[in-house]
Symmetry: C2
Subunit: 347 residues, 2 copies
DNA sequence: GATAGCACTCTCCCTCATCGAGTGCTAACA
DNA sequence: TGTTAGCACTCGATGAGGGAGAGTGCTATC
């Protein structure tokens, strides 16, 4: 694409992102010193429209970027925005939280992201398959109830009260606990299988039923339930976006955000290692055609651990948001890797 | 108030609740067979307006109920609506959940309420001061970290990872755990004080610092943090209410719902033992003048344990909502009292 | 190739007239 | 005295008409 056309496209997109209103040739010529007259800009714009980068809401309005236009912008024109010291500080502040309480930590990250970006934040917990089972604790609650507490090396802590079909004496419980620890602690979580636990307990001939339930819990809580847990924050930020002044649009978008599996699909659609920008129709689920998404992954000791993302209108401030997400993801990776190292050293 | 005037007021309110549009004299005369002409109704309406029960948005519109009108309606005219068998079933279904996992249970109640009423549900966890500390467990995580797990007789389970300022050997930990159990289990939670724990540990001369942190945790998690935890559900239901078609109204209302302390104030404003209906301006916080609230308390063995409520527009379907909330609260009381009994028997 | 000029298009906004729902008042009626 | 029919009146909603203004596309000119 010729240099001037790029500049015109750049100007249109920047202006539209800032003001949410169609941009005319005059405005481009005036505000973004290209040194040519509006008429010249008009010719360029006409070309850009023909090529599908911009469109006209109606004949006598200015132009707005199309999805293709945003895509070109993100790929070729966009400049990262330097974060202000206040923003850097806010990120680092949120990272100071206790990483060991993973859920709490993720929640606060989520809030920080939404406050910083003014969009809706999506944060996926670190993948649970990763890491090892650190500790397992069985706490007697009553004759028929046992509280199972699980600790994973990733910092996830889970508890669940399980009802037992028979009475279990606390001596037995201690024995089972010990056996479970011997066999399971230090194992990769994804390697722990139903069969494995059953076999182990078959050897010892104790309390098969309970073992089954306990294992079910391990699988459920450490893999299924929480593996896919996605925190959302700043959903209400959407209310301030002019593109969502329409209640029906809001409704369909909020409905989507409440569906965990769709959110997951959204976040996981960006599974490349690098930061990913998804624009409008590129989204893998229905109902967010007016939205764009920026997703960054975070890594623990070089291995992908999870994703963070923001969802906003296609008129997203890509430059700013991309910078922020990159920085946040790198900080997150750093903090969580530190934590991981410390964990490994402690053992 | 004369009988016919009551009937007119009743008709106006019922109609407005159903259709969200000003009600004219003709509509009242026609749909609600009072056997008199619109002109007669007009006279009654004129009186009702003078007395402040209804108002006119503008001269040539019908009448809408005022807050005073709703109040009279709720106090004198409203008929409870019988729940359908499907509704009864839905409530009982939600109650079948595992009560022992209190938070999960409350969350599901919250969802059930919002789905059933189509309004926003507010559910306050059982008060934490109530009940006793059942068990306390210290799980070593690393040299400097201990996971403290607390069980309360009310079914609340809490865990928290605490960082220790010094290394603690697992033998020491076991000892501390034992001492804590001896001294704290079975005690009323609200009776456990900072001083109490400190004194106890001063006797044994061990690990004061850790004790302090542990106690802080007990206080924090069992009283402060969760005592005031309020679940919300169905916030998005508000989007379907015509009175919230205005984005700004939505914004201010959502902002309020995100403030936990204001929510608490709302729920607690109805501290009488009976079910309470709060209408518009009667609300104890700013920004919900267009809303009404129905709050019911639930009881465990005769003692008030917590509250459930719904928040909707003043044009709330009071008859239906009141019936529902009464039924749900009574079921909740029953289920939780059962659980309590079972707990006490197990010991 | 760039630009100035100009006719053209379309939205936005204002005004005006009409329509209809609903009222309040008055006079008549039971 | 309470009820009703009739009627004039009010006021919002709706839609047509008419600038004003923004922005375009086209053409002729530099």
């Amino acid at each position: 694409m010729e240099e001037r056309k790029k500049q015109v496209l750049n100007a249109i997109i920047k202006d539209y992102i800032a003001n949410a209103e169609p941009v005319g040739s005059r405005a481009v010529a005036k505000k973004y010193g290209l040194g040519v007259s509006p008429a010249t800009i008009r010719n360029e714009m006409s070309d850009l429209e023909e090529e599908g980068y911009i469109e006209q809401p109606h004949t006598s309005a200015g132009r707005i970027p199309s999805a293709k236009g945003y895509r070109y912008f993100v790929d070729h024109l966009m400049e990262r925005e330097r974060l202000t010291s206040a923003q850097l500080k806010a990120v680092r502040q949120a990272m100071r939280g206790e990483v060991s309480e993973m859920e709490e930590f993720m929640r606060s990250c989520c809030n920080m992201i939404s406050q910083l970006t003014h969009y809706t934040a999506l944060v996926a917990m670190p993948e649970q398959g990763r890491g090892t089972l650190e500790n397992i604790q069985l706490v007697p609650v009553s004759d028929h109830q046992v509280l199972v507490v699980l600790l994973a090396s990733t910092g996830i802590i889970r508890h669940k009260l399980i009802e037992l079909p028979m009475e279990v004496k606390s001596d037995d419980l201690a024995y089972i606990e010990q056996k479970m620890r011997q066999h399971l602690c230090g194992k990769e979580i994804k390697a722990i299988s139903y069969e494995m636990l059953r076999d182990m307990l078959a050897d010892y001939q104790i309390r098969e039923k309970m073992a089954e339930q306990a294992l079910e819990l391990i699988e459920q809580t450490l893999t299924k339930e929480t593996a896919h847990k996605i925190f959302t924050g700043g959903v209400m930020n959407m209310l301030s976006q002019p593109e969502f002044r329409d209640i029906d649009k809001l409704k369909s978008m909020f409905a989507l955000i409440e569906e965990d599996d769709k959110l997951e699909k959204l976040l996981n659609s960006a599974d490349s290692d690098r930061l990913t920008v998804t624009i409008g129709g590129e989204m893998p689920v229905e109902g967010v055609e007016d939205c764009s998404m920026v997703v960054a992954n975070y890594f623990v000791n070089g291995e992908k651990a999870g994703s963070i993302g923001v969802l906003g209108p296609t008129r997203l401030n890509y430059g700013r948001t991309v910078s922020m997400m990159e920085f946040i993801a790198s900080e997150l990776s750093r903090v969580m890797s530190d934590k991981d190292d410390k964990n490994n050293k402690n053992k």
